[in-house]
Symmetry: C2
Subunit: 338 residues, 2 copies
Amino acid sequence: MRGTVLYGPGDVRFEERQDPKILAPTDAILRLAATCVCGSDLWSYRGIQAVTQPTPMGHEYCGIVEEVGGAVKTVKPGQFVVGSFAASDNTCSHCRAGYQSSCAHREWMTGAQAPRLRVPLADGTLVATPEVPSDDLVPSLLAVSDVFGTGWFAADAANVKTGATVAVVGDGAVGLLAVLSAKQMGAERIIAMSRHTSRQKLAREYGATDIVTERGAAGMARIKELTKGVGADSVLECVGTQESMQQAIGAARPGGFVSYVGVPHGVQLDGAGLFFSHVHLHGGPAPVRSYLPKLIDLVLQRKVDPGKVFDLTLPLSQVAEGYRAMDERRAIKALLRP
Amino acid sequence: MRGTVLYGPGDVRFEERQDPKILAPTDAILRLAATCVCGSDLWSYRGIQAVTQPTPMGHEYCGIVEEVGGAVKTVKPGQFVVGSFAASDNTCSHCRAGYQSSCAHREWMTGAQAPRLRVPLADGTLVATPEVPSDDLVPSLLAVSDVFGTGWFAADAANVKTGATVAVVGDGAVGLLAVLSAKQMGAERIIAMSRHTSRQKLAREYGATDIVTERGAAGMARIKELTKGVGADSVLECVGTQESMQQAIGAARPGGFVSYVGVPHGVQLDGAGLFFSHVHLHGGPAPVRSYLPKLIDLVLQRKVDPGKVFDLTLPLSQVAEGYRAMDERRAIKALLRP
């Protein structure tokens, strides 16, 4: 088969690779219905994170099980499944506490920008739908695999409750789905920080009640102003830079909750500043596995449409154009069809 | 009257100062039953925090109301009161959210190492006992004013629940009272990190089930070992240094809770490290005011004895010896009697 490999900054190739095969009895092989490019793929695409060797790319996936190892019990060939970007056994202490992305046997998924994919720890990682879903649901089910699950974690980790005032920093796919998640959790007011008209529009569709275009100190001041000087109850940081973290912490009320769900790049937090901000801080790689059953159900019942973040659909073979479009912010998120 | 003034590192003087008087109609003047030296006073005593001018010291207090301003309604002359180290109006949004130490009108208390003290925002800051308590309860009531309230916040902010496994970093008065607080909140296992025999003894009296003498990486490893590789549910950081913060974060399980209640000095947190630790982080100046009614009640009912942290009692005029004894770790905490 042909799959996606990153050779260095800006150098994405769709080239011949070995077909995946069962390596451990707990593996499954999937034929993917769709895959996509992640905002986090751009860190290495842009050279901010070093690429030391040709790297198979992609960690978002859903599709049909083709084959399973001898120890796999809960998923079967022919089933449609969605998995997390972090493979987990779903039985260790960390998994049972709801932190499957810190599983004692965690494996980061990679190589999903391809027609077929090996998934380790299949029983613990994959969740099957009751039947093969109709094709128009595939984008939303694919979103569950990472961006929707991560947006959901952003809202959950920031303790979003009914009636809350929420601010979302970042208007990428995760930020937009954090808006959707906050809305689902009952937030009354959702302030989206965005400067891009098309993203503002989707944010409003997903439930944003206010848009703030200012950034940095001005952005924090604007949120304080919108909340009568108090600050937001929950702030969802969906970028991962020093500026966005500071902005998030500065926009929360004392005793408020700040979540951060993108791998921080070059972020240093001053202990004393954080102390006097009086915020709760929680984040990390989203434990998507723990949310899969609920989010799949929301999608199958057509209560939410997270797949709308895919504003560009390409044949998988044009994956390089997907990276370019996202890098240049021409697209929010690129869906790839094998 | 004579009161305590810090002139520079190691230079504590008990000298003539102006008697406090009502400056605002919301003020009260107290005659103190007792006061004490705080671990946080040592930062400036040791020169780690600069002393730019002679500074009146002390922020822990309880005693009899002597006089109140014209706007004070809830406390009256003759009442015995306990207050927080942070004066608060107890009516603003932050106060109503339970974060009185971030009150919109907060004033940090100072000058309490003296026989008499002016307390601003008396209605919002002070809580009166039903009657003047017996003298043997004074040390415990004084502890409520800061160290017990702060230890309680450490346990509360780290989400200590019935059955939890808790680790406490720091064996100063706050750390010891964090042990007591965790015990009150139903923790099943409480691991105290301490190298000092007398402090280990008090930690055990207060409810510690295990003592860890190792520090740094070895300390973290020991806690992981004691928790079968999982880590503690709640870690209470009661020191405020880079080493203690790292130790606390490293000792918690993914999804666990880390609180920090001492002003961090020179602490920088690496965003990516914190992200992958998957911990909840919360701290700040303890909102002691919100806990005063409950903690005063626990003391008056003699259910707890936080005053045991005072292992040295001196006449107020010997305050300098109190600082020396704590600096040299000859005393856990020095109580001063005017």
